[in-house]
């Protein structure tokens, strides 16, 4: 119940950049992991504080024998928690990779001071600046790189970030569940324009997405004539 309450509260105040207002499977997994860890940590924090208070007020002496504290509290307890946590997060992390049976679309995200260029599919002629179009419900593999300094490609509501590093190309798979507009930012400090290096993400119905692509390629052809 309190979980629900807090998440509603947070969802209410989340902007279009809130990692706590997930709109894709990747971000969903992380949000789940976050809530698990938040409540787990709260419990651990309260537990440690309780033991500290007992120690300071000289109560529960038998419970607080040094052996119990050192072996139980210092070794066994964190080991168990950590093993469980690492297992959960690895599982969630691997799930990030396999969430669709449909072949992913490939989009190149090229960062430079201070803008994002997106090139679509194999036909890299189609490109947009600071505005990303994706189909909803279909996974997209972003090939992220940079023309100058290091940047980082991040759409918080869809999932984790990936650094854009000159000379390297990194891939991250993201998917939007539903059509809509999401915010994107550059997360790695990249100089004076870092704060304004934003982009917006438009997730379309699949047909609509194809239309947008066609329009883009048409308008590009027009401009080239």
């Amino acid at each position: 119940m309190p979980i629900l309450g807090t998440s509603l509260l947070l969802a209410g105040c989340g902007g279009d950049l809130s990692a706590l207002d997930p709109a894709g499977p990747n971000a969903h997994n992380v949000a789940t992991l976050w809530w698990i860890m938040l409540w787990g940590s709260t419990a651990i924090f309260l537990f440690v504080s309780l033991i500290l208070c007992l120690a300071l007020t000289q109560r529960g002496q038998r419970l607080l024998s040094p052996r119990w504290l050192l072996i139980g509290g210092g070794l066994a307890f964190p080991s168990v928690v950590l093993v469980a946590l690492v297992a959960v997060s690895l599982a969630l992390g691997e799930r990030l990779l396999v969430y669709a049976n449909e072949a992913p679309l490939r989009i190149e995200a090229v960062a430079r001071q201070w803008q994002w260029e997106f090139r679509y599919g194999d036909d890299t002629n189609i490109a947009t600046l600071d505005k990303l179009h994706i189909p909803a419900g279909r996974p997209v593999d972003f090939a992220v790189t940079s023309d100058d300094v290091i940047h980082s490609f991040w759409i918080p509501r869809l999932g984790g970030k990936m650094d854009a590093i000159p000379g390297h190309t990194n891939t991250i798979r993201l998917m939007a569940d539903k059509p809509g507009t999401y915010g994107g930012v550059c997360a790695e400090f990249c100089g004076e324009g870092h704060a304004i290096m934003r982009f917006s993400v438009q997730a379309h119905e699949p047909n609509e997405f194809n239309d947008v692509m066609q329009q883009l390629s048409a308008s590009r052809a027009e401009r080239q004539q």
């Binding site: 989340g14 050192l70 210092g74 997060s89 300094v149 984790g160 970030k161 000379g167």
Partner: protein, 837 residues
């Protein structure tokens, strides 16, 4: 030699004072005493903390409202870069060094640290380096690429001005001071203790500082190497990090975080050591789990070198590596947690007493535990990829740094200030100060976790109002001002205590460790005579012991030859094995620091040829340091009191300076190892390989260089052998110097003729770096051989007084081994690039 006769307590005090005191007036430049320098380090570090704090206030003022027009991005970038750099390099590290320098000898029952002049030199390097950074900031040309200075943003293409050079050179300069402190702390703990203090009786603080200092010896070299390489790139266009010419910006990240992660434990461990000293005092019970804690800190030391990649989860690391580093990062929570439970157990077993330091320690518990928990969260890869580079991380890092360092240091300030000043206060302001700091801190940073999860990246100077981070940021800013008021109260309280505190006799907290056995405030010589320790040094009776020592009833309760004497002991058993004669006040460290600073300034202003001048001055001054050491005749065993005798240190088997050379070489080898790692990394991972032009080294000249390097080491050994057989080592020393010179020439020839142009491609640049490393070591080897000759001429060598040649031997051997490895590496790198003959 007869035993110096006992004298009265007052006379002993005056005799010792006359020898140990720093001269008044301008003499302050000549201070080498640990009590004086420890205080100076602490004051200077706190001043930098205030500067960093003002910068933090500017940050919070800027972020308080959306679309803030307070400062522009150019200034904002300087502000947060300087805030981070000042706090990490000019506050945290020097502050713990100050505590260590002040307390360590007193906790170990020694009269000073092993290398007082090195302490002073480190202090001046720190002050000059810090001033360069602050000066640049006042002139508006402060570094602005973030405290981790990622390339290529910090390369000359994207940061053409002097800003990044200020960081690279200034911080490296300050690092010299950190490394000298690390060598000094290590050797002092291992050798300069009270007799009887075997390794299992060390005060727990000594264990913490020992592990910390060792971590510094292995943690700082990667950063120093990285800074040198980046400065070489910026100044001379050697493309180590340039992806268009076979370099890789990821190399910088690896080198930086190889330092950067251990760095946070280097900051935390001394604070944890302070906690481990305070808790037993207030619990009135010895520390529970002494051995478990030692195991834990050693484990932390090792683990922390295997975690650096957790700062780089988003750079595109293979999945298996991600899993490994994630698990390892979680693992480090175990030894840290163990210490927390040991402290709780100590409180549970004892009868806790509450006083101001305990209040601040309670603040530490709460904040640090939260920081540790968010740290474990960040170690989980999927979550990290969301939270990384957001204000969530800013919150986390302040929870660990402020919780794990600032709060324990505040507690420590209240705990040890009476020791420094000899006065206690009635704590009128300490309690409200605590609550303001504690509440203000949590208000500032707790909310920041949420700001980060709502998508606010770090290091942005402005944000749109629609982003809905408005309220959180405003509250954070308000909290930070509450916290600042708290710090202001703290400062006021300290000033009041120093000015108006009540004097006390001895040991106001009824602590049980040795530092409270000195008079308070402590005299320059710390102990009038040195104790014999027969039980764990954390649980003595400083009161009665102090009286005995002041009366001269311990070791060395007399003066002789105007020497500053303390005792050296066997590393593990703590049996006295030498009288260490320490150098007296001198301005040499100051001038040497000034000369070193001039080198830095020359490099900053790109006056590279001119820099050779202060460089020569620095070397000359360093050689001058040795003029007063050693003797021209053999002294044999000297009485040390309590019916025992020991050799003076330059006649002893393993004096502090010999060990210092061992540890310097260990740090040097780490730097070399990092360089080898960098070379292999570039050849294997970096884009743009293989290079267009591949170097074909001249094997003949390489063989010659190798033979000369081996010969130099051999001659160094022969010189020592001859000296030991009472024959003049002159010829061998001369040959060693010549062989080193020859090796230099051969190596330079390879650079000039085979490598030709190190700016072409990282391939050439790495070969240049490897060969340059070997040249430098042969050069220093040559100087050391000549130094040996000079010692021989001035009559300071004999079969017993052979220390100088033994230290030289260590260097010659290392130079040969490292040089050979460098040559092999050059060949392997050329072959693997496709240059097989």
């Amino acid at each position: 030699m007869e035993q110096p006769s006992p004298v009265s307590q007052i006379k002993l005090h005056h005799d010792l004072k006359a020898i140990w005191d720093t001269p008044p007036g301008w003499g302050f430049l000549s201070a080498v005493n640990h009590t004086v320098l420890g205080r100076r380090f602490i004051i200077a570090a706190f001043t930098f903390f205030a500067i960093g704090g003002v910068l933090a206030m500017l940050i919070r003022a800027q972020l308080a409202t959306p679309r803030s027009a307070f400062v522009g991005p150019d200034v904002y970038n300087q502000i947060f870069t300087m805030h981070g750099s000042v706090m990490m390099f000019l506050y945290a590290i020097p502050m713990f060094e100050g505590f260590a320098i002040y307390l360590l000898p007193k906790m170990l029952g020694a009269r000073d640290l092993a290398f007082p002049r090195l302490t002073a030199y480190g202090f001046w390097c720190y002050i000059f380096g810090g001033s360069i950074l602050i000066g640049a900031m006042l002139l508006g040309v402060a570094p602005d690429s973030g405290w981790f200075m990622y390339t290529p943003l910090s390369s000359s293409t994207y940061t053409p001005g002097i800003n990044a050079d200020i960081w690279l050179l200034g911080i490296t300069f300050v690092e010299i001071s950190a490394l000298s402190a690390a060598v000094e702390i290590t050797v002092s703990i291992l050798k300069l203790r009270a007799p009887g203090m075997s390794i299992d009786r060390l005060p727990i603080m000594a264990w913490y500082l020992l592990v910390t200092a060792l971590m510094m010896l292995f943690g700082f070299p990667p950063l120093i190497l990285g800074s040198i390489l980046l400065e070489l790139e910026r100044a001379f266009d050697l493309p180590f990090f340039d992806p268009t010419r076979g370099g890789d910006s990821l190399l910088w990240q690896h080198l930086f975080w190889l330092f950067g992660h251990p760095e946070v434990y280097i900051i935390f461990l001394p604070a944890a050591g302070a906690i481990s000293m305070m808790i037993p005092t207030f619990a009135r019970h010895p520390l529970v789990g002494y051995r478990a804690i030692i195991a834990a800190i050693i484990a932390v030391g090792f683990l922390s070198f295997g975690l650096w990649v957790h700062h780089m989860f988003a750079v595109g690391i293979p999945h298996l590596a991600l899993a490994f580093f994630s698990a390892a990062s979680g693992l480090v929570a175990i030894p840290t947690g163990l210490q927390i439970f040991a402290w709780i157990a100590t409180l549970a077993k004892g009868r806790p007493r509450f006083d101001v330091p305990m209040l601040y320690l309670a603040g530490f518990f709460v904040i640090f535990v939260i920081g540790g928990l968010t740290g474990v969260m960040l170690a989980m890869v999927p979550f990290n990829l969301q939270a990384h580079d957001t204000h969530f991380v800013v919150a986390h890092l302040h929870y660990v740094l402020v919780g794990g360092f600032v709060f324990p240091m505040l507690a420590g300030a209240y705990y040890w200030l009476p020791h420094i000043t000899g006065k206690v206060s009635d704590h009128k302001l300490a309690v409200p100060a605590f609550w303001l700091i504690f509440i203000g801190f949590n208000m500032t940073f707790f909310l920041m976790h949420l700001t980060g999860l709502l998508g606010m990246p770090r290091r942005i100077d402005t944000y749109p109002a629609e982003a809905k981070w408005e309220w959180l940021n405003l509250l954070s800013s308000v909290g930070s001002f509450v916290m600042t008021i708290g710090f202001a109260l703290f400062v006021l309280d300290i000033i009041l205590q120093v000015r108006f505190g009540k004097a006390f006799r001895r040991n106001p907290w009824q602590a049980r460790s040795l530092e409270w056995a000195t008079p308070t405030p402590p005299p320059s010589y710390a102990f009038a005579s040195l104790p014999h320790v027969e039980s764990p040094a954390d649980w003595l009776e400083p009161g009665s012991l102090g009286n005995d020592l002041a009366a001269g009833r311990g070791y060395l309760g007399f003066t002789r030859n105007g020497w500053q004497e303390t005792l050296g002991v066997g590393m593990t058993d703590g049996a006295p094995d030498q009288v260490v004669v320490l150098p007296r006040s001198t301005t040499l460290p100051f001038w040497t620091g000034l000369a070193t600073g001039t080198i830095v300034l020359c490099l900053l202003f790109k006056l590279y040829w001119l820099a050779l001048l202060p460089f020569a001055v620095t070397i000359t001054l360093l050689l001058c340091w040795t003029r007063t050491t050693g003797a021209q005749s053999d002294l044999g065993p000297l009485p040390i009191g309590r019916g025992q005798t020991a050799l003076v240190h330059w006649e002893a088997g393993q004096p502090p300076s010999w060990w210092a050379m061992v540890f310097v070489l260990a740090a040097d080898a780490t730097l070399f190892g990092s360089l080898l790692f960098g070379c292999v990394f570039l050849a294997m991972i970096a884009p743009g390989w293989p290079p267009a032009v591949i170097v074909l080294p001249s094997y003949g000249v390489m063989a010659l260089a190798a033979i000369l390097m081996i010969a130099a080491a051999l001659f160094g050994r022969l010189a020592l052998r001859d000296l030991n057989r009472n024959r003049a080592p002159t010829a061998w020393l001369g040959s060693a110097a010549l062989a080193h010179l020859g090796a230099c020439a051969a190596l330079v020839w390879i650079i000039a003729v085979d490598v030709v142009d190190p700016t072409q491609h990282a391939h050439q640049a790495t070969l240049f770096a490897l060969l340059g490393y070997a040249v430098l070591h042969a050069g220093v080897g040559c100087i050391l051989a000549l130094y040996g000759l000079q010692r021989q001429r001035s009559g300071k060598l004999s079969p017993i007084r052979n220390l100088d040649l033994r230290i030289g031997k260590l260097w010659h051997d290392y130079a040969a081994v490292a040089g050979l490895v460098a040559l092999v590496a050059v060949i392997v790198l050329c072959w693997s690039a496709g240059g097989r003959p």
